[in-house]
Symmetry: C3
Subunit: 135 residues, 3 copies
């Protein structure tokens, strides 16, 4: 089963999609299986991160923004704006696809884990994801 | 089939789990399939790396420790110790889930590949992983 | 179904394999499913990146080469040449496995996404990949 979901981001940040995935898993009615999610973009990505203290996600964002700076003289791919090339690099350093086992009919995440769409562009947009449920 | 396994780490290092996964694959008795492993934590991660010369894993560890330093003035998430925020960043830069094809009843790893839990905290702990075997 | 494919790389660069994967997917004749690809090496990796403007891939390559320099005095794993240890680090920071949902019988990539083998060694070589198709 493959389902398409979309997420409206509001600029650079981690946007939680755990409950969206949980809903697809519940609909599938699979007791044991695998939930795979892929983001159909190269300037946003996916990550599994701590869902408790928001300061961890904030530091993560700031750290990556410092590592992958805008307006780096190295960039030649600049036609789509100063935040575009950094976005591609950030996507390459994080994840485009994630596969999460399903156990007892639920996503097998750890207690402190959430699944996030990581928007790397300054302006938010509607991001498309495909979710596959297998057995 | 989903199986839970756990690994006792002994501080920052790569802890090989190839044989643990191979055992789950052998138990499943699948000729061709897919083995997916997910770590249920956000301060440790997974990687597939060279299993031959230990110096490669040692350099990898040291390089990442230099890139993602402790006590960075940027961090605000400091309540869980100086090695906690670096651990989350390292987890985001490496992998939380890995999927390995099964061929001829065995994990389809290359000759020099091993699967590792990468502990990012200074103190080791018991880490939980879910392993899914699909066809 | 597991199929082995191989790619001849020509030195450090992103080598597109989207059509190779599409062929395996078409052969499998699966309407909805999951295509997982794994590279059987630790000095080359996989990434999903923009397939439109080649300057994005060029900048990505140059950025990563600057981040993970050759001849870093930190390295002790130097017996296989100055580009070997950087290759392992780059592989750890990118992806060894990728899972792409199949929808309507085709790889569910976004419009601007291509799948690439990322060769990290200076000299190209024949790289082996396993492709699993599941339902």
């Amino acid at each position: 089963m493959v389902r398409k979901i979309s997420v409206q981001t509001r600029g650079q940040a981690l946007h939680e999609i755990t409950s969206d995935l949980a809903e697809v898993v519940a609909d599938a009615g699979v007791e044991e299986g695998l939930c795979t999610v892929m983001i159909q973009h190269t300037s946003a990505s996916l990550t599994i991160q701590e869902n408790a203290d928001p300061s961890a996600r904030c530091d993560l964002e700031n750290w990556l923004n410092r590592l992958v700076a805008e307006n780096d003289p190295l960039y030649t791919h600049t036609a789509e704006g100063p935040d575009d090339m950094p976005s591609h690099i950030k996507a390459a350093l994080t994840s485009t696809t994630l596969s999460i086992p399903i156990a007892s009919g639920r996503l097998g995440l750890g207690r402190w884990q959430g699944v996030y769409v990581w928007e790397h562009r300054r302006r938010g947009s509607r991001r498309s994801l495909l979710v596959h449920i297998g057995q």
